[in-house]
Amino acid sequence: MTYLDHAATSPPRREVLEAVLPYLTRDFGNASSQHDLGASAHAALEDARARVAARLGARASEVVFTSGGTEADNTAVKGIALAAPRGRHVIVSAVEHPAVLESAAFLERIGYDVTHLPVDHDGLVHVEALRAELRPDTTLVSVQYANNEVGTVQPVAELAAVAQELGVPFHTDAVQAAGWLDLGVDALGVRAMSLSGHKLGAPKGVGVLYVRRRTPIEPLLHGGGQERGLRSGTSDVASAVGFATALDLVDLARSEPVAAQRDSLIAEVLDRVSGARLTGHPDRRLPGHASFVFDGVSGESVLLRLQERGTLCSSGSACAAGSDEPSPVLLAMGYDPALAQTAVRLTFDERTPAADLDAVAGQIADAVGAVRKLAAG
């Protein structure tokens, strides 16, 4: 079986599992308890926080552990907007993950103005487009670092700089970018950033929200006042340790060779499959991410045939899997609905055997050919 759906979830690394295990067994304390066992859990939690902060170039106090990327996005978008330092206008890109888009939709329902920034055919947000939409009452801009469906990497630093000129907080959903791109928050110039553990080799059920100090933000969860009051709930120490360990293991040097594999995969698919088109930007894209549409087939039937051939991949977002609707991301990029429904996304990392990747283009050619034949039949 060839697993080419790392953007949906990437298997945890062995070292991460080993790091997590002691906190499931021996060191099981509640990090808020005052006794020794609690203190030891607290120390592990704070060590994990410091390690994450170091990788982000942030202060430990700016790192908030959450239950995942969705919660981090929800807290950032709703929390910063609701704290409303400037007004009730929010700008998000049209190709955000549903965790951001739906949070913005919530704000719209309670009376906020929401602007969806358009993207070009490659899925890129343009700096001028953002500049044109910023208003004195804009209270948040949220543009993802890299897109989950088409892999396009946004010019986050430039976008954040434009927002910063007007003093507007800028959030980026870096769930897909983490593990591949530099997460230094100062170079990016972001005020808030969301990360998810299970996309970068940590377990599911843990994420991080980076929030730059002195950024007003309302918590999503109320209760014990953990995470400096920003995220109540007993701290999941094992998961925090797992997250920090996974982030520490990230070696950005992997990006170049994986991008080279991606490029040969793309070239081969475009070469061997007639009517295949790459979706997303050809160069500004995530290293382990290749996505296509195919003229004259249905996406789901290609996926099924690939699965019969032992290759597991997806049409786009796992969250939308099973939906008959064409991808809003591809529609925003200007694809027509019928073509958008043929989307196939292949995502992998350096652990994916090269031989498996080499075989994929042939499998896609076979699968697409078979589907077309059936349709013509």
């Binding site: 949906a8 997590v20 308890s33 609690g38 709930g233 099973g322």
Partner: protein
């Protein structure tokens, strides 16, 4: 190894749970993916949902996975309030017991401060119990404006079990939804969602030998809830976010074990508790028990909870001295640890502030033994004497 008497804060993960979590962490796939790996992950989630539902007298479709008890409580209280108020703006009153966990209390305070809610606090008696008549009277002040009634199944500090079934019935007479925080109750007393009549019920993994970071909101299919987290639309659109399959699988093992061994476990805990209470109250320092207490009782008070009040000293000093002697316990809720304020639960029970300060919560769990209780009783006299001396000295110097 220190003696651990703080199982209400968190308890050791059961070995079978660790095994299941570790096995599932090695598994591949996002439970929302359609391919075989995704479907395998989905199968584990759905089997876990069925196990949990069966153990709690609920239907599988009523089980909504969350990141823990706090999120489940937040979702129930904030989610219900927002939806009920959106449907009818006059419904802005919350009826909440005065002894709730902060996961409920802080939501209420947030809704009052920022979202136009009003609250009627349901008073408790000297044992921390809400009289169903109090609920009835509070509702009948103005039945149409009530958004939600929330009363915990059992209290985390003093272990008092509430008459949830009677309260649920009263709320239902007026078609008002009823939420109960059963975080402490599950695994210690029988919890049957269907029988209780509750509309919403919160539980968490790490109090019953499950992993941290996972919990459940049991929500009737007709419970109207606004989600807290939006996104992928998982969990009936109520709770978005990639399903944490390993934690969910571990939670199912823990719930199944806790409920399956309930009666023998409760009897074991109660016998240890009774030994502890007897030893402490007979030690000659005027130590008393808070909450309802009767030897052998496993219905009116959580069998694993012993809450002591030690006269003329600060709970924090006792905690420190006991910790130094190798006994780990708490003054109340771990969530409020480090905050030198008397417990809101004790104050609501009418305990004078001076007495509320000398609180010590000792909670037993699946790893507890006779030896733990004996070690505590052996360490207690010296700790009490030193804490009382310190208290007298500080009071003396203050005058």
């Amino acid at each position: 190894m220190p003696v651990y008497l703080d199982h209400a804060a968190t308890t050791a993960v059961l070995p079978a749970v660790v095994e299941r979590v570790a096995e599932q962490m090695g598994g591949l796939g996002n439970a929302s993916s359609l391919h075989t790996a995704g479907r395998a992950s989905r199968r584990v989630v759905e089997e876990s949902r069925e196990t949990i539902a069966a153990a709690l007298g609920a239907r599988p479709s009523e089980v909504v996975f969350t990141s823990g008890g706090t999120e489940a409580d937040n979702l129930a209280v904030v989610g219900t309030y927002r939806r009920r108020r959106a449907d009818d703006p006059s419904r802005n009153r919350l009826l909440v017991s005065a002894v709730e966990h902060h996961a409920v209390l802080d939501c209420v305070e947030h809704l009052v401060a920022h979202e136009g809610a009003r609250v009627t606090w349901l008073e408790v008696d000297g044992e921390g119990r809400v009289d169903p008549g109090t609920v009835r009277a509070a509702i009948e002040q103005q039945p149409d404006d009530v958004a939600l009634v929330s009363v915990m199944w059992a209290n985390n500090e003093v272990g008092t079990v509430q008459p949830v079934r009677e309260i649920a019935a009263i709320a239902h007479e007026h078609d008002i939804p009823f939420h109960t925080d059963a975080v402490q109750a599950v695994g210690q007393i029988p919890v049957d969602f269907g029988e209780s009549g509750a509309d919403l019920l919160a539980l968490t993994g790490h109090k019953i030998g499950g992993p941290l970071g996972v919990g459940v909101l049991v929500a009737r299919r007709d419970a109207a809830l606004e989600p807290l987290t939006y996104g992928g639309g998982q969990e009936r659109q109520i709770r978005s976010g990639t399903l944490d399959t390993p934690a969910i699988a571990g939670l199912a093992v823990a719930v199944d074990h806790a409920v399956g061994h309930l009666h023998e476990h409760a009897a074991h805990l109660a016998s240890l508790r009774d030994k502890l209470v007897h030893g402490a109250t007979a030690a000659g320092y005027g130590i008393t028990v808070s909450g309802p207490y009767e030897v052998g009782d496993v219905t009116r008070r959580l069998p694993g909870n012993a809450h002591l009040r030690v006269p003329d000293c600060e709970g924090d000093s006792l905690l420190y001295l006991l910790d130094a002697a190798g006994v780990e316990c708490s003054t109340g809720s771990a969530c409020q640890a480090g905050v030198p304020q008397p417990s809101h639960v004790l104050l609501a029970m009418g305990v004078p502030e001076a007495q509320a300060r000398g609180a010590l919560r000792l909670t037993l769990g699946h790893t507890s033994t006779d030896a733990d209780v004996e070690a505590f009783l052996a360490a207690l006299p010296a700790a009490v004497e030193r804490a009382q001396r310190a208290h007298r000295a500080s009071r003396g110097s203050g005058r």
